[in-house]
């Protein structure tokens, strides 16, 4: 037993903080593997229909604004950077810096959702939301509806994960202010960081798969 056993953050069933840290880290990675498969189911369905209905997917993709999508990619990557910096601040035991980086992450997360809602509102005005007001005049309307279903389910699930992430930050902030995290105990910050990076990775794949299909014809026009 090391002297760390006196640390109030040590839970009773662990021998020392190192074991507790490693367990938390591994548990989070196992959870992320689960998340990969959760989104993987959607990506798998997407792949099947993209293979079957490529023309409809190209047409659908051309209804998505690249500017907003790319801007959101930048916002989310930036938030990934800020959360990485937050974890680093936690590792170094800098509470003030940790607080600032978490707040920046939250601001960027909210910005992402704001941009997303602009896009969703735009889709609503054009009657492109399956289940709400899908009106599309084309022989491929059914297949386009499938494209937009995937668009909304995939980005919606992603946005839900963002909202959960922002909720986690709201939960973490009072703890940070209380000084609950030290250079010896910061697993919740690190695990939150892992979660947030994962959400970023999902978007890194969603962006080219949804927004960037079959854009070449535009140049030829």
């Amino acid at each position: 037993m090391s002297s760390h056993s006196e640390n109030p953050a040590l839970q009773h069933h662990f021998d020392d903080l190192k074991q507790q840290y490693e367990a938390a880290n591994m548990g989070m990675w196992a959870f992320l593997a689960q998340e990969i498969m959760f989104f993987g189911g959607l990506f798998s369905g997407y792949t099947v229909y993209r293979y079957k209905y490529l023309a409809a997917f190209i047409e659908g993709s051309n209804h998505l604004p690249i500017f907003w999508g790319a801007l959101n990619t930048v916002v989310l990557i930036a938030s990934s950077f800020t959360v990485a910096m937050a974890v680093r601040a936690a590792q170094l035991g800098r509470a003030k810096s940790l607080f600032n980086w978490i707040i920046s992450t939250m601001v960027l997360g909210v910005a992402f959702l704001g941009i997303k809602s602009i896009e969703y509102a735009d889709k609503y005005h054009h009657g492109l939301i399956p289940g709400a007001n899908f009106t599309y005049d084309s022989p491929m309307a059914g297949q386009l509806k499938i494209f937009f279903s995937f668009y909304f389910v995939m980005t919606g699930m992603h946005a839900l994960h963002m909202i959960i992430g922002i909720g986690l930050m709201i939960w973490l902030i009072p703890k940070i202010r209380r000084g609950a995290f030290t250079a010896e105990y910061y697993s919740p910050i690190e695990n939150f960081g892992l979660y947030w990076h994962f959400v970023d990775i999902v978007w890194i794949f969603l962006f080219p798969l949804l927004y960037l299909i079959g854009r070449e014809p535009w140049i030829q026009l």
Binding site: D15, Q19, A23, G27, A33, K52, G142, Q143
Partner: protein
């Protein structure tokens, strides 16, 4: 993750004399159970609720069997019959079989077997039980409010275009329940990696732990896929998103791909922990180390991995490409290899062992025979040509009941009898336990063996009326189900009465090896007074007893024997 544990670990020095404190009596009151973070109490919570769902599913089965005694539809309407077999399937698979061994027995013995005070994440463990309860509650509500008639598989378009009743609610229930399995999987996997006692190396782990580890792998990587799939079906029902709707170009068979990507591995979630129980029990009652320990250990992992690449064999008769069918058929045969490795190794363990037939061993023997039949008939179904004939007949029904009931339920009951003295501190009546084991074995065979014949002759599953010539076999099957039901009843009485008037069990009533048998029955709240140091191999039955710490000598565990 702050600590909110209400009980402090009894210090190693202070509580030695106080040997009456155990996990059952250290706290009282309903709150001390419903908010317990103790893996043993959570295991018991699971035990109670899985038993409730077993009864719910059993009622469905009973009504099905009574209806099928006559060729006409005299007890149940067609629609009610559909709802009954759906209720039977949903309750038994999602709420009984999947959590049975992992969440009941695994929760109880896994941390003790590796010398840990608890699982890695006790709060997630409790949360998983609540996910199970919420999921179960929603599914029960769906069954009571209007019933679901899709079958437990929720195939589209039954579940989207044509279903009546409360399919969305049931889907959401199964979705929430999925997180129970995921959390258990994450918890157990981390626990096995990070919570092992000093000296408990990977190859000293009991094989039950290897099996649980393999199961956790499937739970983590498979369950989320069915979660998202069922969510898509719910969205399809509510918002008509078109992904599974042929009218819009959607493909109902995609649902089957995604569903079976989880649900075939889920079969191994149900059976692999049972294999783990078998290894423990067979080694104990043969007084021998398991033959080919590492082969049995790795075959669990091999089954977990191979289980993910065979799902298409459920879809031979759908519109799936026959080339895909060939690939899936071939891969399916592969999975027979690690399964056979296990059966052969258990048999080899019995060979020249000092076999004694206590009731857990009777269940284990029952498992071996029934699972063998279940497994071998699976080969008929994985052959594409014979599957065309046998698909969706009672042959399939008999096959998976031999695996699930003959295999898994027998293994679960085996484990329950084996660890019951450890869980409760009481011995049950051996005569009653043996009676129930024999009744269950006989009743089971009488119920399901005729169904192989029925299926071969062409009786399709999920029909409540049938031609007269099948009646004799159906009556035999119903008679068997009655015997089976009586067997379960005897078993229930046997275990419950042991709580009232059972003899006190010592720490190790079976003379078994393993850390869980070196502590008190029932265990103290934190299992061990001191972290044990493991200096012996698993199943060291053939070694001198002096190598092992004896309970009461205070050397390793500080436990006090009764």
């Amino acid at each position: 993750m702050t600590t909110t544990s209400t009980t402090e670990a009894p210090s190693a020095s202070g509580h030695h004399a106080d040997h009456d404190v155990n996990y059952l009596n250290n706290e009282y009151g309903i709150k001390s159970w419903l908010l317990s973070l103790d893996h043993k109490r959570i295991g018991l919570l699971y035990l109670i609720m899985t038993t409730v769902f077993f009864v719910v599913g059993g009622i469905g089965a009973a009504l099905i069997r009574i209806e099928l005694m006559t060729p006409g539809g005299d007890l149940l309407e067609a629609d009610t019959y559909n709802k009954m077999f759906t209720m039977h399937g949903v309750a038994m698979i999602f709420f009984f079989l999947i959590p049975s061994v992992p969440a009941v027995i695994g929760n109880f013995v896994l941390p003790i077997m590796i010398g840990a005070k608890d699982v890695a994440f006790p709060k997630l463990n409790l949360l998983s039980w609540y996910c199970y309860m919420v999921g179960g509650g929603l599914a029960t509500f769906a069954i009571i409010a209007g019933g679901i008639d899709t079958g437990w598989t929720f195939y589209t378009p039954y579940s989207t275009t044509y279903a009546n009743g409360y399919v969305s609610v049931a889907l959401f229930g199964v979705f929430v329940n999925g997180f129970s399995g995921i959390l258990t999987g994450v918890n157990f996997m981390t626990t096995v990696h990070k919570m092992r006692a000093p000296g408990m190396t990977w190859f000293r782990l009991p094989l039950f732990i290897w099996a649980q580890y393999a199961t956790s792998l499937i739970m983590i990587l498979g369950t989320p896929v069915v979660a998202i799939t069922l969510l898509l079906v719910a969205l399809e029902r509510v918002f008509h998103i078109g992904i599974f709707d042929p009218a819009l170009g959607g493909d109902p068979i995609l649902f089957q791909h995604m569903f079976w990507f989880y649900s075939h591995p889920a079969v191994y979630i149900m059976i692999v922990p049972g294999f783990g129980v078998m290894s423990e029990v067979i080694a104990c009652f043969s007084r021998k180390r398991i033959f080919g320990y590492s082969f049995v250990a790795f075959s669990s992992l091999a089954i977990a991995v191979l289980g993910f690449i065979v799902w298409g064999h459920h879809m031979f008769t759908t519109g799936q490409s026959i080339y895909a069918g060939m690939v899936f058929s071939f891969l399916t045969f592969l999975i027979a290899v690690p399964t056979a490795v296990k059966i052969f190794n258990w048999t080899a363990t019995l060979y020249r062992g000092s076999v004694s037939m206590e009731s857990p061993m009777l269940y284990a023997m029952g498992f071996m025979g029934l699972f063998l039949i279940g497994g071998l008939t699976g080969l008929f179904l994985s052959t594409m040509a014979t599957d065309i004939h046998l698909h969706d007949t009672y042959f399939v029904v008999a096959h998976f009941h031999y695996v699930m009931v003959g295999g898994m339920v027998m293994a679960y009951l085996c484990g329950l009898h084996f660890w019951w003295p450890k869980m409760t501190g009481r011995m049950y009546s051996e005569v009653m336990a043996k009676t129930s084991a024999v009744l269950i074995f006989m009743g089971f065979n009488l119920t399901f063996f005729p169904q192989f014949v029925l299926g071969y002759l062409g009786m399709p599953r999920r029909y409540h009326v049938y031609p007269d010539e099948f009646q004799i076999l159906h009556v035999a099957s119903t008679a068997g189900a009655t015997v089976l039901g009586i067997g379960y009843l005897v078993l229930f009485i046997c275990l419950v009465s042991s709580l009232i008037n059972g003899a006190k069990a010592g720490p190790n009533p079976w003379g078994a090896k393993g850390l869980e048998w070196m502590i008190e029955s029932p265990p103290t709240p934190h299992n061990f007074h001191e972290t044990p140091v493991v200096t012996f191999e698993a199943y060291a039955y053939e070694e001198e007893d002096t190598l092992l710490p004896v309970p009461g000598d205070g050397q390793t565990t500080g436990a006090v024997s009764h």
